[in-house]
C-alpha cells in the first residue's frame, strides 16, 4: 500500500509541477500567429501541419497554446534547456529565448555566435545578421551539434528514473520477504512473464540468465514510453527514429558480441553447402545479421508508434474537418467514438510492440548463443 500511496503522491506533485509553469506563457509577439502549433484549426492543411509538428521532437514542452481575444499567442508549458556545440564553443540556454519562433526569423546571440531555430532544428548563422533562404533552405547557416534536453530526451530520462524507482523498491522488498506488496504485485507477474515466456524459451536454459536483465529493461522501457505517448502530454519518444535506432543498436551489439563459434561458423562458412556457394551465403548472412535484423527492429517500432499517433490525431481532427458536413454534434460524436476505440487498440499495440521488440531481441540473442547439436 505504501508504494501505491507514494506513487499517487508523486503523480499529484508531478501534475501540479507541470500545471504551475505559467511563467513560460510568454507575451509572444503577434507575428507568430500564422504558426500552427495549436489554436483554431479548421482546414485539412492545418491539421496535417499540426500532426507533423506533434510527431517531431521539440525543444520546449508545450502543453497547449491558443490565441486570445487581443490576438496574442499564449503558450502553456515550460522551456527545456538547449545545449549546442557551436563554432564558439558549447552554448547553454533555455529554449524560451527563441520565443516560440520556429521559422528562423528570431536570432539569439550568444557571445559572437548567432543561433536561430528553424523547423525544430537549431542553425548557426555563418555571416550576416539574418538567415537567407533559397527555396526554403538556409544558405548562410548550418546545423549545429545538438545535445539539448529535448522533449524526447526528457521522456527518456523520466521513464528511466521511474523504472529505477519502481524496480529498486521491488528489489528491496524481496530482501525482506518473498512476496512483494503494493505496486510490486503489478510488476512481479510482468517480470516473471518476460523471464519465463520470452527469455527462457528463446535463449535456452543455459544462457538466459545473462540476458534477462537487458530484455526486461528494454521491455519495460518501451512499454512505459509507448503508454506515455498515449497520454495528452504529447510525448512521441518511441516514434523517434533516433530512439528506436539506439535500442536496435543495443540489441545488435549484444547478439554480435555474444555470438559463439557455432554462430559465426554458420554465418561466414556455412557447413553442408557446396564450397562455391559459401561466400555468396556469407555475404547474405552478414547483411542479414548486421543490417537487416536491427533495421527491421528499429523501423517496426518507429513506424507502428508513429502511425498510431497519426491515426489517433487524424480521428480527433475529424471534429474540425467534418464540422461543415456533419454539424458540430455529429462531427464531435463521430470523432469521439472512433478515437476512443482506436486509443483502446493503441493501448494493446503499446504492449504488443514492446513484446515483439523484446521477443525478437531474445530470438536473435538465442540464435547467437545456441550450442551446436550434431
Amino acid at each position: 500500500m505504501k508504494i501505491v500511496q507514494k506513487s499517487i503522491k508523486f503523480l499529484t506533485v508531478l501534475a501540479i509541477a507541470l500545471c504551475s509553469f505559467h511563467g513560460f506563457a510568454s507575451d509572444s509577439d503577434k507575428k507568430n500567429n500564422d504558426q500552427n502549433d495549436g489554436g483554431i484549426i479548421d482546414t485539412k492543411k492545418e491539421v496535417e501541419e499540426y500532426i507533423l509538428h506533434h510527431i517531431q521532437d521539440s525543444h520546449d514542452f508545450n502543453l497547449f497554446s491558443y490565441t486570445n481575444d487581443a490576438g496574442e499567442r499564449k503558450h502553456f508549458g515550460f522551456p527545456l534547456p538547449v545545449i549546442v556545440s557551436t563554432s564558439g564553443g558549447i552554448k547553454t540556454f533555455m529554449s524560451s529565448e527563441f520565443h516560440h519562433n520556429d521559422d528562423g526569423t528570431y536570432v539569439v546571440t550568444k557571445g559572437n555566435v548567432k543561433l536561430v531555430k528553424l523547423h525544430g532544428k537549431i542553425y548557426e548563422i555563418e555571416a550576416g545578421d539574418e538567415v537567407e533562404f533559397v527555396d526554403h533552405h538556409p544558405t548562410n547557416a548550418h546545423k549545429v551539434l545538438d545535445f539539448s534536453i529535448t522533449k524526447s530526451v526528457m521522456g527518456v530520462l523520466l521513464v528511466g528514473l521511474l523504472l529505477l524507482w519502481w524496480f529498486s523498491s521491488l528489489a528491496r522488498q524481496y530482501k525482506k520477504r518473498q512476496v512483494p506488496t503494493g505496486f510490486g504485485r503489478v510488476l512481479e507477474p510482468l517480470v516473471i512473464y518476460v523471464r519465463d515466456e520470452i527469455a527462457r524459451p528463446n535463449i535456452g536454459e543455459k544462457h538466459y540468465r545473462r540476458f534477462t536483465g537487458y530484455l526486461m529493461t528494454v521491455f519495460f522501457f518501451i512499454w512505459i514510453l509507448n503508454l506515455l505517448g498515449l497520454t495528452p502530454l504529447g510525448f512521441n519518444v518511441t516514434g523517434q527514429l533516433a530512439v528506436t535506432a539506439c535500442l536496435a543498436i543495443f540489441t545488435l551489439v549484444i547478439y554480435t558480441a555474444s555470438g559463439n563459434k557455432h554462430y559465426w561458423g554458420h554465418i561466414l562458412w556455412m557447413p553442408g553447402v557446396p564450397i562455391l556457394i559459401r561466400p555468396v551465403l556469407a555475404i547474405i548472412e552478414l547483411a542479414g545479421a548486421l543490417v537487416i535484423k536491427p533495421f527491421s527492429l528499429l523501423v517496426r517500432l518507429f513506424a507502428n508508434i508513429s502511425a498510431g499517433h497519426i491515426v489517433v490525431m487524424s480521428l480527433i481532427a475529424i471534429m474540425f474537418t467534418l464540422k461543415q458536413s456533419l454539424g458540430v454534434v455529429g462531427a464531435t460524436g463521430l470523432s469521439l467514438v472512433l478515437s476512443f476505440f482506436i486509443t483502446l487498440i493503441e493501448v494493446l499495440v503499446a504492449f504488443l510492440q514492446a513484446y515483439i521488440f523484446t521477443m525478437l531481441s531474445a530470438l536473435f540473442i538465442g540464435m547467437s548463443v545456441e550450442e551446436a547439436h550434431h
Binding site: F295, L297, V299, R300, A303, I356, M359, L360, L363
Partner: protein
Amino acid sequence: MYNLIGAGLIVIGAGIGLGQIGGKAMEGIARQPEATGKIQTAMIIIAALLEGLAFGALFLGK
C-alpha cells in the same frame, strides 16, 4: 502519386500475408488446442517479420 500506388500494393501484399498467417494459425489452434501458446508465439514472430518488411518498404518509398 506513384509512391501512393506503391504504398497500396505494399499494403495489399502485407494484408494477404497476414491473412495467411492468421488463418493458418487459427486452423492449427482448432486442430490442436493444447498447442495454442506455441502457435501464437510463432504466429506473432512471423507476423512481426512480415510487418517489418512491409514497414521497411513503406518507409523507403516515402
